[in-house]
Symmetry: C2
């Protein structure tokens, strides 16, 4: 299974604007790219905060099979739909391995840092696709947690809009 | 006077690898670019930490007229050379305005966050040139201090090496 981390961030590496949940700062171009690219995946994994933000704001997209990692899956019983939207409290790596075992071919990891860090540490992250918006926030959540040193290789860079870049890396 | 912030960072927006001083992680391609591009400026401003790191490590370069901002300029009396290397404890914006008054045409700001944040808040930052290295650190100093929201416009992106990008922005 190909596993790809997908994120939008400010040019100074903030996944959120200060303490806000979600990526409300994402440009229309990124939202369009995100919706379109998700359509090329057959499953995706996200954190509870990302799920709550995506219900209300930008980066909502017609989604493939979604797994939401949360400490309280029982809080979402009313929203869960078998085969469409699952809520689990597993470790991220265990969830990704389970999706591979179930036969999924392309898995999008749409944050946050805990999910991406756990997947890269378990050797389960193949690529990282970063949208870079032309704004600096100074403070906000980061892409990875803790003191890590993760080498990547550049796959390519393209323009999503006049001022928005999409940079693709693979783990080295 | 054209004022350009120049920095090298990890793909997740860390200007330092965790708590280390300086940019020892900068690729040979970035070091070459940095040395070459500094030759196109007639003055540069840096912080004390950056100066101490550049004495010993990567990103040392044949420099234009250098101003080092430090709380203790008197600690560097032995190293100061009039017209070559000055140590000052001024506010960053005051230093930049003074360089413009003295007739300098191109000023490079080579970090850190305090200098870049003060210059952008004073409306004195024209461009920002970011080298992005293919590595993630999870923690380290950021480009700007505090909770800011600074819009930029993309000027262009180019490859410095196989996996290293140079992204140029101007303040919007």
């Amino acid at each position: 299974m190909l596993t790809v981390g997908i994120a939008v961030m400010s040019l100074d590496g903030c996944l959120t604007r200060h303490g806000e949940e979600g990526a409300g700062f994402a440009s229309r171009e990124d939202q369009h790219f995100f919706a379109e690219t998700l359509g090329t995946f057959d499953c995706m994994v996200m954190g509870g905060a990302g799920y709550r933000a995506s219900r209300a704001r930008a980066r909502v997209a017609p989604a493939p099979f979604r797994v939401v990692l949360t400490r309280e899956p029982e809080a979402y019983t009313a929203e869960a739909q078998a085969g469409v939207l699952e809520f689990r409290s597993d470790e991220p790596a265990e969830t990704i391995r389970d999706l591979a075992r179930r036969g999924f071919a392309r898995c999008a990891l749409v944050g946050g840092a805990r999910l991406l860090t756990a997947s890269v540490k378990a050797g389960l992250l193949d690529e990282l696709w970063l949208t870079v918006e032309p704004v600096a926030f100074g403070s906000g959540l980061r892409l990875f947690e803790g003191r890590v040193e993760i080498p990547f290789e550049l796959v390519g860079v393209e323009s999503l809009g006049r001022h928005t870049l999409l940079i693709r890396y693979r783990t080295a």
